[in-house]
């Protein structure tokens, strides 16, 4: 894109999406955001790079869907309502207008679905590899942000949805197979509506993006606690597969893993049912510092933290704390 076309394209495709007053008609280099009184802001940003997060021939609508999905998942884990966003848009210098039209159509669909205001951003043509960053601004009632560090000994551990559909979906995408897992991998559906009503009943939360094992490790590290996880209780996307460890470590699930005190269980189950969200109790917080995985025999399982997709062996060990 030439510099001139770039401006034309902003006007043509992004300006109609940026209809909030704070976007200043995208005629400015900055945007105005007026926080809702009594609220605090939750900020998150994630970058999607061609050749790292998606293959060069990925359709633009899938890139835009992923860009919003991964960031919305981060806000869900904080119990934060998405309010506004900025997009750093750096497509290939030789992309077509049709590409931009398809990308921005999906951006518009995400903005509408989640009631997010596009306030601004930055557009530049990338010479060698495209890259897109989304910065999301969410709000929580003051003091209401769910953190990773709030888990207490005795709390139970829950996950929403299924675990491992990210890994299986990637395999299906590579093999060009259609499947429900591939749909979830390409169009992440973080349980945001559930998170917003359930956040006040959670003691700690994380979104499952790095792999359930690693993400639970984030809670252990931040909360300075251990975990005991019941392997048969994990809702694997493909529970009869031999690649359970790969499903556990594959990431890209964009579900929530969270902890909660026992008095909140009934309320959480009720809220999940109201939202048609699958909710599974998979273990509890311990006073150690390790993540112990128990199989159906009650034996702890040997586990290598390298994240390779070997079959789950039996024996004893624990997850290394990643990150």
């Amino acid at each position: 894109m030439s510099q001139k076309n770039e401006f034309d394209l902003i006007r043509l495709y992004f300006a109609p999406l940026a209809d909030d007053k704070g976007a200043l008609n995208l005629q400015d280099d900055a945007a105005l955001y007026i926080p809702t009184p009594g609220n605090e802001l939750v900020l998150t940003t994630d970058t999607i790079i061609e050749g790292v997060h998606y293959l060069p021939d990925t359709p633009p609508e899938k890139i835009a869907a992923k860009l919003f999905g991964v960031n919305l998942s981060d806000l869900a884990a904080k119990g934060a309502k998405p309010k506004a966003c900025l997009i750093n848009f750096a497509p290939h210098k030789n992309i077509s207008e049709a590409w931009i039209a398809e990308f921005t159509a999906q951006v518009g669909a995400a903005l509408k679905a989640y009631d997010i205001k596009l306030l601004g951003g930055d557009t530049v043509a990338a010479p060698n590899q495209a890259m897109f960053s989304l910065t999301l601004i969410g709000e929580v009632a003051s003091g209401g942000m769910v953190q990773r560090g709030g888990a207490k000994i005795g709390d139970d551990i829950f996950v929403t949805g299924t675990i491992g559909h990210g890994f299986i979906g990637l395999e299906d995408a590579k093999a060009e197979r259609s499947s429900p897992c591939r749909d979830l991998f390409e169009y992440p559906q973080p349980p945001l509506a559930f998170a917003l009503v359930a956040a006040s009943y959670m003691s700690a939360a994380v979104d499952v993006s790095d792999g359930l094992a690693a993400d639970l490790g984030h809670i252990c590290k931040a909360s300075v606690c251990g975990m005991q996880i019941d392997l048969p209780a994990i809702p694997f996307a493909d529970p009869v597969s031999k690649n359970l460890l790969a499903q556990l470590n594959g990431g890209d699930d964009y579900q929530l893993a969270f902890t909660a005190a026992s008095e909140n269980h009934d309320k959480l189950k009720q809220l999940a049912a109201e939202q048609s969200i699958q909710l599974s109790k998979i273990g509890h917080i311990t006073d150690g510092s390790d993540l112990i995985l128990l199989n159906s025999d009650g034996l702890t399982l040997d586990y290598s933290s390298t994240g390779t997709s070997q079959e789950l062996p039996s024996g004893f060990s624990h997850f290394g704390m990643k990150k």
Copy 2:
């Protein structure tokens, strides 16, 4: 960088810079920002791409300095005090630890100089070309943001500093010549302190990043007005050069151009003097829609809006409204 090294490097080099409570020790995928009561937020983001905004062999401290300079300049033009930031850090996959150390040292210097809190961001290795985005959060008293659209007929037009040092600095950098213009080009020094005290006396403002002519055009378009500019009054970095048009269009000056009612002139001059800021009155707002450039004979000058660095011809025309 491998995935593992990436996490190590965040911890080693970015974590010490992210010492605000809202950064959550960079152990989370989101950050907390608590707005100051009575304030509104000004958001800006800009991306720096290897091969577009800097040459591949540019020292990392210059890349970091530019990343902060261009974004701080945007906040200055709004009269907004920088408060916090997020960094999308996508260096080359094969960069050295020394490179990261130098980059983050300059980031640390900028955070300290402007009292900005690093709250978070995103790190990923870029396979083909590095890219860095900075999202800055600034604050203004409610209703106090200077906009591009506030210029009134009869207002005078001012610029801070000199115009054209960006263009000359780039030429010097290409020729590997040391010069004060090159220093300003590589280490932008937007007049932020002046902007913060003077903003309430401005009716409209813009930072000079696209070139003075284009940036004044932004004010014309947003304020629905025309301008008459006195060429001899423009404080060119090299006023005896034959490339005045290039200095006018080159951009990368990161100074302020703003408009103000006549009753505010004395106060603005006083504030500029207190800050040792060069302040030049270069024209006034008209009721037309064109940007008219007058030379020393009082004749309007022919001007091509293509932004080429041809010598200024005499004759009659006006600036096309560039975005």
